[in-house]
Structures are given as structure tokens and as C-alpha cells.
């Protein structure tokens, strides 16, 4: 009897531990599939961050698989921003490396340099618009393909401007903007607005990335690579940055330090309670959900006034597709072919424009089909070359948000003077570039 009892106990214990280990075992299977590459089937693992277009992207992948029966593409999507960066790191350190993945800027490229394949022989790299490859070029090699383009400026409500008798096309210099803002402020009651601006100062990216970028870009000659290679920053246009921040802050709904993105876009701008916000084309869907009429017909963009660069809009590439060099050769080829197909085939182009609603970073698109008017307008600026660079992609890691953004919040609260802000930002930059 004792023997039987013992056996059943052992069996039970083994079953439980077996079940536990089985959970660990399954995660390895995907990897084996990739590396085997046996027969005609090629499996490409895509690891991407853009949750917003997951469904559309997967349907694009399906279409590709129909056209290319030998290729099997697995898409894994992990939520935006920091979660993605962390998951990508753990994927690499656990050895379960994806074949196609996303990278933002040069500092991340440094981290993954040994894994990045040269994509300069792809059709997509050839078709990429001038400047969109700047952040991913290393010598002769092109290490990534841009997702899309994005741009920002002062989004304004056309109806409110019209009612106030302001012609937005005439606003080019800071003085023009200032007088427009003063007009708006004096007619607050008639226009039914709370304030001319809503400054989302709670979001450090609004201050640290976007606001500061417009005034930092000229000193790095609009190039994020110059910013990436620079040992210091001098705030040449610091005074202009200060007065632009002051203007937005003074004429904003108060208190700005607790005003966040959703309040700014949903509550205040979409409902017509403010006339202007400093944002970009990504707000379109949110505004559309609140008020389709406003989003489709009544939002325009005014360039941020930077002396010597009037009428230019900061446009940049938020993210890139990278191919893993260490995957099997046929997997690398298949990955390149898939990216080419997505951005240069007719089906792919149509999806990119109409389903992804991207501002294309490539030539050969029927740009009249760009889905929303804000993007359309930004694309026009971009194609005419009226752009400023996105140098915040090349600044020291977290410098824009954690140093400039945070210090601007301190400045707004009166905890820090502007000179202290600049000095601290310069010191922190130099420290991290030593």
C-alpha cells in the first residue's frame, strides 16, 4: 500500500511541476521556427509598437501573405513608449530576437548597432523623401526605414479666428502672433472662449520636446545628427523660446501645470473653448471623435514663429523599421521584401495612406488622398521644404523631457528663473556627453 501511495504522490507532484515548466517551454517554440528556415516556408517575426494601427497593420500583413505564399509573418504588438523599449530589450537579452522591430533615434541605434542590417539596397530606402533617413544613416549604411512623418505647430480653430476677424495666413512673426492673441483675449466674451491658448504644461513632452525643439533646431542646423554629436547646447534662441513660452502660458487656461493632453485637446480645443493649441497631426482622431465637423473643416496650422525661419513647421520621423542582421539570410531578405512591399507597392501605398492614415515619408504617393486636412497641410509644408528639424530625437537620453520639460514647469511655478533653466540644461547636456 505504502508503495502505491508514494507513487501517486510522486506522480501528482511531477504533474504539477511539469505543468509549470510547460509554460516556460512554449515560449521557445517561436524562436525555433524562425531559425530553422527549413523548406520553402520563411517565418518573419515583427515586433512593433504602434497600438493604434494594430488591426490595420495585421490586415496589411494578411494581404502580403496572400501574395507571397511562402512567407509567414507573425506580428506582435506591445504598447507605446516605454513599455515597447523595455520589451524589446528583454526580447533581445532573452535571445528571442524579432526579425523586424522599431527604433526611434540615434541613441537607441547605438544600443542595437550590432543587430541592424543595412537596408540601403531596398526600394523603400531609395523612395524615402529627402531628410527622412538622416537619423538612421551611418556612413554608407542605411539602418532603418521611416514609418511616416509627423509635424506640429499651433493648431487653430478657423471659425473662432474668422469671428475675431483674424487672418491666420498673415501670422508669420512673433509680433503678428502676439497681436492676434491679444485680439482674441480682448474678445473672449463674444467668442465664447475661456482663453486664446491651452498650454498642456503637465505633459513634459509638450514643453521639453516640441516647444523647445522649434528654437533649438536652428542652432544644430536642423539636423538631429548634429545634435547627437554635439558636446554642448547654447540656447542661441533662448530668449525667443522664453517669450513664446511666456505668451502661451500667460494667455492659457490656468493653472497650466496641471493641464494635461486630454484636457487640452478633448475638453478645451475640441469643444471650442480655446482658439489655439500647440500640437500636431496626431490629434486628428481625437478631435474627430469629439467633433467631426471641426476636425474635417475647421482646424488649421500656424507655424511657430522663429526669427529667420518664419513659415516653417517642425516635421520629423517619429519611428523607424529595423531589420535584424543576425536572423537567417532568407529571413532578412523576406523582411526587406515585406517592408519594400508595404511602402512601394500599389496595395501597400494605398493601405499606408487610407488605412494607416500616415503622412508618407516616401515618394510616389497620391497625396491628395491623405486622410485628414491637418496632415494634408503638414505634407504641403514638407514637400515645399518649409520644415524645421526634429532635433529632440538626437539630444541626450531624457534630456528634453526630464531636464528642459521639468525646468520649464519649475519656471512656470516661479521655482526657477529662465537663466537658471538654461544653465542647468546646458550643464546636464554636457554631463551626459562627457
Amino acid at each position: 500500500m505504502k508503495g502505491i501511495k508514494f507513487l501517486s504522490k510522486t506522480a501528482a507532484a511531477l504533474a504539477v511541476s511539469g505543468a509549470l515548466l510547460a509554460g516556460c517551454a512554449t515560449t521557445d517554440n517561436g524562436d525555433d521556427g524562425t531559425n530553422a528556415g527549413s523548406g520553402d516556408e520563411v517565418t518573419v517575426d515583427v515586433f512593433q509598437f504602434k497600438v493604434e494601427f494594430k488591426d490595420q497593420f495585421e490586415s496589411l500583413v494578411e494581404k502580403y501573405e496572400e501574395e507571397n505564399p511562402g512567407v509567414n509573418i507573425n506580428v506582435k504588438t506591445v504598447g507605446g513608449g516605454n513599455d515597447y523599449a523595455a520589451s524589446l530589450k528583454s526580447a533581445f537579452s532573452s535571445g528571442d530576437e524579432p526579425d523586424i522591430f522599431n527604433i526611434g533615434g540615434p541613441s537607441e541605434i547605438d544600443d542595437y548597432r550590432d543587430s541592424l542590417a543595412d537596408l540601403s539596397d531596398t526600394k523603400a530606402a531609395e523612395a524615402a523623401l529627402e531628410g527622412t533617413l538622416a537619423g538612421v544613416t551611418d556612413g554608407d549604411e542605411i539602418l532603418g526605414l521611416p514609418f511616416n512623418q509627423e509635424g506640429y505647430g499651433l493648431l487653430y480653430n478657423k471659425a473662432i479666428f474668422e469671428e475675431a476677424g483674424i487672418n491666420a495666413d498673415e501670422i508669420t512673426t512673433y509680433e503678428d502672433l502676439q497681436s492676434a492673441v491679444e485680439t482674441l483675449d480682448s474678445k473672449k466674451g463674444e467668442l465664447g472662449i475661456e482663453a486664446p491658448f491651452a498650454l498642456a504644461a503637465k505633459e513634459t513632452w509638450v514643453l521639453g520636446n516640441h516647444l523647445s525643439n522649434a528654437f533649438l533646431a536652428p542652432e544644430f542646423d536642423q539636423s538631429l545628427l548634429n545634435a547627437y554629436n554635439s558636446d554642448t547646447v547654447s540656447f542661441e534662441k533662448g530668449d525667443e523660446m522664453k517669450r513664446f513660452l511666456d505668451l502661451q502660458n500667460e494667455y492659457s487656461v490656468q493653472p497650466t501645470n496641471s493641464l494635461d493632453y486630454s484636457q487640452q485637446v478633448e475638453e478645451l480645443f475640441s469643444l471650442g473653448k480655446v482658439a489655439m493649441i500647440q500640437q500636431g497631426n496626431w490629434v486628428y482622431n481625437t478631435v474627430y471623435e469629439m467633433d467631426p465637423e471641426l476636425a474635417e473643416n475647421n482646424v488649421g496650422i500656424i507655424p511657430i514663429p522663429v526669427e529667420g525661419f518664419e513659415g516653417k513647421i517642425p516635421v520629423g520621423v517619429p519611428n523607424n523599421w529595423m531589420v535584424n542582421k543576425n536572423s537567417d539570410e532568407d529571413v532578412v531578405e523576406a523582411s526587406k521584401d515585406f517592408l519594400d512591399w508595404m511602402y512601394t507597392s500599389e496595395t501597400g501605398k494605398q493601405m499606408v495612406l487610407e488605412e494607416f492614415k500616415f503622412i508618407p515619408a516616401y515618394e510616389g504617393y497620391d497625396t491628395s488622398k491623405i486622410a485628414d486636412p491637418i496632415s494634408q497641410e503638414i505634407y504641403e509644408y514638407a514637400s515645399e521644404g518649409n520644415t524645421l528639424g526634429w532635433v529632440f530625437m538626437g539630444t541626450p537620453v531624457a534630456w528634453n523631457e526630464e531636464v528642459v520639460g521639468i525646468n520649464m514647469q519649475k519656471y512656470i511655478s516661479g521655482e526657477m528663473t529662465w537663466d537658471e533653466l538654461e544653465q542647468d540644461a546646458i550643464n546636464k547636456w554636457e554631463e551626459s556627453r562627457q
Binding site: A13, A86, S107, Y112, A201, P255, N257, S258, Q263, K410
Partner: protein, 286 residues
């Protein structure tokens, strides 16, 4: 010791295996990485205690630690007072006492992240509207200054955890022998004297438990902090857990953040061990 034979260990295997895979081994890894320049992908140099030395000079970490301590002290005191008051309220022979217990406990069942967003709306919009309507200026601009951010967090935590602390006090309040109360009533003690001299000393053990429980919870708060203030304005309402996450994932200093994590672990461990020690001691006394 009799039953610690082969089967004993065999049955323990799944748990030990699970625990070491997800807790012990990663912890040892983490400890090791905190002495290197690990960037999340690879570690190239062994730095010794450099990260730890840097950590004590890091102003942001010290500010976050100080803020967390202040927050913990305020919320521990308020939580216990509030929990005890609620417990006294629902242990009176009220008809609605069961209903009230459920209501008071309910906030505890809502996730901290959602609570944070709900209270953000209350502090920023509702407070402001009430303030404007009644002409009370102190109700405007909440969460835009360090002070209001601090009290916002304290209020949120108290609202969420008071029900839980209430449960602990109820358990002790109900264990107070009726004879003692009756005897004191016969002796003519007022209700304050009864509370002061009978109820309070007898629920004192509950205070120890609640204190350490609230202390270690307030130290570890992250989600409420993230959704309510996200550290703002200017990172002045940022608690330790959040500061560590930022160092690791925003600033990409994985090894440095790991060192902060180890220090944070030590602090929480000391609190937790003291709690266990005191509770054990009391159990023996009783």
C-alpha cells in the same frame, strides 16, 4: 521533523521552482546587475559600489525618498484615525452597519490606476467648479502645486485604504469582552472614559498591524502616483517607486535604477521585518 521526508520536498518542488524562477533568481540577477553598467541588453564593466555612491548623491532620488517619507507619515496617521472612526461607527448597533461596511470597503476593490484618474477629475474639475461657485479660492488649481499634489495623494490613499484598515479594527473591537464594558457602565464611566481606558488599550495590537501595513503600502505606491499627478509639477510629487521606473525606462540607466531598487527593497524589508517581529512578540504575550 517527522514528515520532512522525500515526499515533503517533492510536493514543495513546484512552489520552490516557481518561486525561484520568478522571484529568487531574478532578484540575484538584479543584485548582480546593480554592480555593473548594465544597459538592459548587456553589461560590460564591473563597477563595484559606484552606482550606490552615485545614488546617494542623486538629488532626485533623495527628493523622492523624502517626499515618500512625508507622504507615508501623513497617510499612516490619517489612515489609522479614519479607519478607527469608521470601525467605531459600524460596530455600533446601527441597522445600516452591514451596508456601511460594504460601502466603506468598496474603494479598496477599485484599481489604483482608475482611482487616480477619477480623483484627478475631482481635484481638477469638480473642486474648481465648487470653488468658483462658492468663491473659495483654495479649491482652485489643485494638483498644479506641490502642496495640493501632496494632499491630493494623501486624500486618495486614505479614501482607498481606510476601509481595509477599518476591517482590521472591527475584528479587534468585536473581540472586546462585553463584561468589561458592562462593568464600566455600572461603575458609571462616561463613553469617553470607556473608549479611553477599555476600548483603546484593547485595540492597540490592531494599531501595530495597521501601522506597518499602511506604512509599507504607502512606501510602495506607484499606480496612484502615476495616474494622479505623474510626479508633476516638476517631479516634486514623485515617489521612490516612480523615480526608479523613470531612471530605468526614461533615462535608460538600467543598472543605476537597479541599485536604487536594491536600496528601496532594503527599506521596505526593514519595515516589513519589524512588523513581523512585533506581531510575533504580541502573539506570545497574549
Amino acid at each position: 521533523m517527522k514528515n520532512r521526508d522525500f515526499t515533503f520536498w517533492l510536493f514543495l518542488t513546484p512552489v520552490i521552482l516557481g518561486l525561484s524562477l520568478v522571484v529568487v533568481i531574478p532578484f540575484i540577477y538584479g543584485l548582480f546587475y546593480s554592480f555593473t553598467d548594465w544597459n538592459g541588453i548587456k553589461a560590460t564593466t564591473f563597477l563595484g559600489f559606484e552606482n550606490y555612491i552615485k545614488l546617494f548623491q542623486d538629488e532626485e532620488f533623495r527628493a523622492a525618498l523624502w517626499f515618500t517619507i512625508k507622504f507615508s507619515v501623513a497617510s499612516v496617521i490619517l489612515l489609522n484615525i479614519l479607519g478607527l472612526i469608521l470601525a467605531l461607527l459600524v460596530t455600533r448597533k446601527l441597522k445600516s452597519s452591514n451596508f456601511l461596511r460594504t460601502i466603506f470597503f468598496m474603494p479598496n476593490l477599485i484599481g489604483g490606476l482608475i482611482l487616480g484618474f477619477i480623483w484627478q477629475f475631482i481635484f481638477v474639475s469638480v473642486f474648481d467648479d465648487i470653488g468658483t461657485a462658492l468663491g473659495i479660492e483654495a479649491l482652485s488649481g489643485w494638483l498644479s502645486t506641490t502642496n495640493t499634489g501632496f494632499w491630493g495623494l494623501v486624500i486618495l490613499t486614505c479614501w482607498q485604504m481606510a476601509g481595509y484598515i477599518m476591517i482590521i479594527y472591527i475584528a479587534y473591537l468585536q473581540n472586546i469582552p462585553n463584561e468589561l464594558i458592562e462593568a464600566s457602565q455600572i461603575d458609571g464611566a462616561s463613553s469617553w472614559q470607556r473608549f479611553r481606558n477599555i476600548t483603546f488599550p484593547l485595540v492597540a495590537p490592531a494599531f501595530t498591524i495597521s501601522m506597518f501595513l499602511t506604512l509599507s503600502t504607502s512606501f510602495k505606491i506607484y499606480d496612484q502616483n502615476l495616474s494622479l499627478t505623474n510626479g508633476g509639477p516638476y517631479n516634486s510629487t514623485q515617489m521612490v517607486a516612480m523615480e526608479i521606473v523613470k531612471t530605468a525606462f526614461n533615462e535608460n540607466q538600467m543598472a543605476f535604477a537597479q541599485a536604487k531598487g536594491v536600496i528601496f527593497f532594503l527599506i521596505v524589508a526593514v519595515i516589513a521585518i519589524t512588523q513581523v517581529y512585533y506581531n510575533k512578540k504580541r502573539e506570545v504575550d497574549m
